[in-house]
Symmetry: C2
Subunit: 184 residues, 2 copies
DNA sequence: TTCAAATGTCACACAACTGAGAAATTAGCC
DNA sequence: GGCTAATTTCTCAGTTGTGTGACATTTGAA
């Protein structure tokens, strides 16, 4: 059963997302599996992390690309991007965490880095395009908007986890605050 | 020298903020101190965490209270609250993380919880007051605004850590995005 | 039912982290 | 300079996490 593998990956993403150094026992527990089984699928901690990273890259990149392709209107693209990120959930958050951690070195040979950078560039271009068209404010920089974007995603994820905001309002609130926050 | 103690606490907040299970060696290293010295000030990991929690509570509560007292205009109070949170930096983020973690149980006997809840209540009241006055939108709930507030703080902290946004623009951007994002 | 693959249980060796004692070293102060 | 307290260095035992082997148990499909 290959679904066990995915179950472990998903658990690892959840656990490592808020505790990088968490013992593998916790991951196994979250995946409802023995540590021994976890080790059957993944040689060691490092391999598990690598696989998580690749899994995330694949899923996030696809979702983001689909969002961008879903429309010709830049503002709609941006809105769909936000929804896609929210759907990716913890994966999107972890994607950024991986590339923002201290020990991380960007280099071309790493596919994950390439995927991240590509996405990042497309995002920045979209933002600059919107600014040029006067559809969003120029008071804040594209860099800030990018940080703000992931910040709103994280906010929605946390609000969801805390159960403080109704599920169906989540996306609506997120888009309201994000779009207004960049001066749409 | 009692400043060593504070140095360790500050280092612990920084380290534990993005890796709860980080070895104490990392904390000691960040504080430019030996692990042995750390153990002289704090019996064990748990005591260090407890002290961090108290330190954070004290500093954040004071800063927030001062911000609220700095003006009579609700909107100015909110703006000052944001700046205070940004000044508290990682401490503010950790404050929330501590109270949002899984194993955490809210109970009256815990001073930290009380302080957190008090602050939380004052924040929500301020928001509802602004909504009643029609100064901010009603499209989003006070709960969402609270989550959004800490989200913006985290965004600014991250942007600062990544060096992507000029220091002096930080607060300005944060307030712009936050205020617009709640429909000011 | 039967067989094979997947998973669990137990046991082990090893590495890393933790907490503490004792002596050597450093820093501030009179 | 000498004294005192803080800190470092070195040490070590105890605990926890890691990775693996051997074998039992469960599961699912033929």
């Amino acid at each position: 059963m290959q679904e066990t593998r995915q179950k472990i990956i998903d658990a690892a993403i959840l656990i490592f997302n808020d505790d990088q150094s968490a013992p593998l026992e916790k991951v196994a527990e979250k995946a409802a599996v023995t540590r021994r089984t976890l080790h059957r699928y993944f040689k060691d901690r490092h391999e598990l992390l690598t696989v998580c990273s690749k899994d995330i890259r694949k899923r996030c990149s696809e979702a983001m690309a689909a969002a961008l392709d879903s429309s010709d209107r830049p503002l709609t693209q941006l809105e769909q991007l936000l929804y896609a990120a929210l759907d990716c959930g913890a994966k999107y958050a972890f994607f950024h965490k991986l590339h923002g951690s201290e020990g991380h070195q960007h280099h071309g040979g790493n596919d994950d880095c390439t995927a991240y950078d590509t996405m990042h560039q497309r995002f920045l271009r979209l933002i600059m395009q919107l600014q040029d068209a006067g559809m969003i404010t120029r008071h804040v920089t594209p860099s800030w908007i990018h940080a703000f974007f992931t910040g709103v995603v994280n906010t929605a994820l946390k609000a969801d986890a805390m159960g403080e905001v109704a599920k169906q309002s989540q996306k609506q609130f997120a888009w309201f605050s994000f779009s207004k926050g960049i001066g749409v």
